[in-house]
Each structure stands twice: as C-alpha cells, then as structure tokens.
C-alpha cells in the first residue's frame, strides 16, 4: 500500500467516525434508528411471507415423500437467479400492481430468495426423521396427522430452524439492495453515499448492515440453543445440514 492509499484508509475511518458522531444522523427520516426499523420491517415481512409459503409446502412434501425432484429444482433455480435481476423484474411488476416503488418491489425480490432455503430445510428435516422411529409411530396406530404432530415435527425443528436462519440472514443482507429502487433501510446509506460521494455515510451504512447480519445470525443461534431441547439437538448434526446460502449479499 502506498502513501496515497494509506491516507485514503485513514481518512475513510475518520470520515466514518465523524459521520457517526453527528447526532443529526441518528434521528429523523434519514436517521439511523429510522433506517434500522425500515430495514427490519422489510426483512421481517419478506421472511414471514417466505415462511408461510415454504414451510407448509416443504413439510408436506417431506411427510409424503413426493416431490424431491421438485424441491431440488426449486433450490437450483433459486440459486441461479441474480437478486439484482429479480429486483429489476419486480419493479415494473410492482407498478403494474399499483404498489409503486420502494417497499413492495424489494419484498418481491426477497421472498424468492428465502423460499428455497426454507423449503429445502423443511423438506430435509421431515425426511430425515429416523425411519425406525416412524415405523414405531405407525405401528402404534397413529394417523398421518398425528405422526406428523407428535413425532416428525418435534424432531424436525432444529433443521427447520436452521433453514429459517439461513433465510433470515440472507434476507437481512440482501435487503440492502432495495435502496436501488428507493426503498428504506440501511442500504440507503450505501446507495446514497455512493451517489453523493459521502464516504462517511457509505462506510457507516456498510458497517451497520454487516453488524445487523451478524446480529441476526447470533440471534438465531441463541434461539436454537434455547428453543431446541438438548436431546433433539444431539440427534442432529446441525453443522453439516446447514445449506450454504444463495448469494448472501444483496
């Protein structure tokens, strides 16, 4: 690194600190708090919709055993779709629906991002319940719905949670791209910072988004530890089943 670059590095840090130190940047419609809330709203809505679509579908397919190929195809296709491209398609579509810029095109982009992740984990989670345990359940006269509720679902929770976690982190990260279609959220700092050449704004945005992603990851980590009974957790190798995300970054 030559002197010029070092200077750039130092000045970047200084600019960022200066930007953060300014109280104006914390409140108001462009304030950090507002943007954070917007970001969470975007992510939460998308995650919810993705979950509503993918959880029942994945669990049902896993329970009946059909549609393995379908699930794989959905996963592959989902991976192949560049988020920017989807956003590009979502924009005119959103207008056509009368939903305008900003929030809804972004959600439309984020949902297809989360669906494959939740779908495959839900499917795998139900499928991977030990065959022998299921045989015993069927053998004691439980019906399909009962087997699902009493046996498959509790055992499947860790892996399903893993899928929701992947989706959450990916969605939180990619929501930054919504700023390109004038949505709210922390991505605005990045896009605006690039456009206005404000380094402080730019880097702050980046940092905040990164922190939020990591925080989401950590939050789910805690949720997994607290919510999943140790015995069930031990029955799975949580690490190996964690599917590497679709483009993690927006």
């Amino acid at each position: 690194m030559d002197v010029g670059e070092t200077e750039t590095g130092v000045s970047t840090v200084l600019a960022t600190l200066a930007w953060l130190a300014d109280p104006i940047h914390w409140h108001g419609t462009d304030g950090i708090v507002t943007r954070l809330v917007e970001h969470l709203a975007l992510s939460g809505t998308s995650l919810l919709i993705a979950g509503l679509l993918a959880l029942p579908a994945g669990m049902y397919l896993g329970h009946t055993g059909h549609g393995a190929q379908l699930v794989i195809n959905v996963l592959n296709v989902g991976r192949a779709l560049p988020s920017l491209a989807i956003l590009g398609f979502a924009l005119p579509f959103s207008f056509w629906l009368g939903l305008g810029l900003g929030f809804w095109p972004t959600v439309m982009m984020l949902v297809p991002l989360g669906v494959p992740l939740i779908l495959i984990n839900s499917y795998v989670a139900i499928r991977s319940v030990d065959r022998e345990v299921l045989d015993v359940a069927w053998g004691t006269g439980m019906r399909g719905w009962e087997v699902f509720r009493e046996v498959e679902l509790p055992l499947a929770v860790p892996i399903i949670l893993g899928g929701v976690r992947n989706a959450a982190v990916t969605i939180v990260a990619t929501a930054t791209m919504g700023a390109l279609v004038a949505s709210g959220g922390l991505g605005r700092y990045i896009v605006d910072g690039l456009a206005r050449q404000e380094t402080g704004r730019l880097v702050t945005g980046a940092l905040l988004v990164a922190l939020l992603s990591i925080a989401t990851e950590a939050a789910f980590d805690v949720l997994e530890r607290v919510g999943v009974p140790p015995a069930v957790r031990a029955a799975h190798h949580l690490d190996t089943l964690r599917v590497p995300g679709v483009g993690a970054g927006g």
Binding site: F95, M177, I214
Partner: protein, 221 residues
C-alpha cells in the same frame, strides 16, 4: 414504468449487440477470475487445515463472517480503499466463494469412506499417495457440487458490481432500473440467468465426465 414504452425493443437489442457481447465477456471474465482465485486459495487453505487441524475453526469463522456481510456493503467498504476498479470487484467476489469452496473441499475429503482410507494406509500408501490417488479423486463430486454453487452465486453477484463500475450484464439491469427502460432490464436479467444455467450445466457435465465409476449402477453379475 414509462407509459407507451413497449416491453421489449428489438431494435435496441440489435443496435447494442456489440455492447452485449462485451458485457458477456466482462461477466465471464469476472466470474472465472473470482472462482479460479477462490478455488486456489481454498485448496491451499484445506491442505493447511489437513496438516494443522487447529486452523479449521478460525478459518471457518473468518470466511463465514465474510459471507454474511452483504456484498453491497463489502464493495462499499472497499471502494474508498481500492477505487472503482476491477480489483475491488474481484476482492469482494473472491471472498464470497471462500466459504463455500473451503467447506466443499473439506467435506469432499471427509466423504471418503473410512474403510477405504484404512485399507490404503494398510497396504502401504504414503500420506501423499493417499491424498492424491485416493482422497482427491473421490472428493471430486462434492467439490464440483461446491463449485457449482460458488459459480452460480458469483454470476449473480457480478451483476451487483455494476454499482461500482464493473457489472457484466448487471450494467443493463441497472440501466433499465435507473431509466425505466424495460428492454435493457429484461436483457440484462435474462442473460444473467441464462449464463448461470449454462455454467451450472457445464459443471454438471464436468462432474459426470470425471467420475466414470458413477456411470452405471450394479448390473447382475
């Protein structure tokens, strides 16, 4: 969208055929460089991990953190330092491949059945022979699986680099978004998707050709 604007202007596409081609080359170059460098780095990392087991945790953590950082953010942070250049783009793109590739290569080596490893050692293979003649060939399917994910992901991320002056087909997507020009948008989006599918397909073929022992299930003896 702008009213009275047709969804797809074919004349525009023909007029800009040259530029489309250029952007294709740009997209492919960015992808190949990123995945190539990423693979090389990951391979070295795995060989090191195989030797020094304590490296596994920290490296996994580091690449995991990199992966979690949104690409836009990563590029944003790099821009003040390395400018709006291809290098910036590549640094970001390469970082995203590392997690997947390191994990795939490791999983691939670990997927070698224990009894195969035991007999290889028991018959007198050295550590190096074990790695190159047994573990690596058997790891190929898993590794290529990881390469597929990494390549397709990278192709998607390349579009984002349009924001920092690179972009490949992302250039058209951005153009379409900024100017409400649906033709460019559709061209950019469709071509990126097609490129991803093509790359994935090529890698599946590559996996097939490098693993002749998977071609036929057991026939009646």
């Amino acid at each position: 969208m702008t009213p009275n604007e047709p969804l797809l202007r074919w004349e525009w596409i023909l007029d800009h055929a040259d530029e489309i081609w250029q952007r294709l080359l740009e997209h492919v170059t960015l992808t190949v460089l990123a995945v190539g460098i990423g693979f090389a780095l990951s391979f070295v990392a795995v060989v090191l991990i195989r030797r020094y087991h304590y490296l596994r945790e920290p490296l996994t953590w580091l690449t995991g953190v990199l992966y979690t950082i949104p690409s836009l953010a990563l590029f944003a942070v790099l821009v003040p330092v390395t400018g709006l250049t291809r290098v910036t783009a590549e640094i970001g793109l390469v970082s995203y491949t590392l997690l997947i590739l390191i994990r795939s290569i490791l999983d691939g080596l670990l997927s070698v059945p224990a009894e195969v490893r035991e007999t290889a050692i028991g018959m007198g293979c050295t550590s190096g022979q074990l790695l190159w003649r047994v573990e690596i060939p058997l790891a190929v399917p898993v590794v290529i699986g990881g390469l597929r994910v990494a390549t397709v992901t990278t192709i998607g991320l390349v579009t984002v680099t349009a924001l920092i002056g690179q972009g490949g087909f992302g250039y058209f997507i951005l153009l379409g978004m900024q100017r409400f020009f649906s033709t460019a948008l559709i061209v950019g989006a469709t071509l990126s998707i097609l490129l991803a599918i093509l790359a994935d397909g090529l890698l599946v073929l590559a996996q097939h050709w490098t693993t002749p022992w998977t071609w036929e299930r057991r026939r009646q003896a």
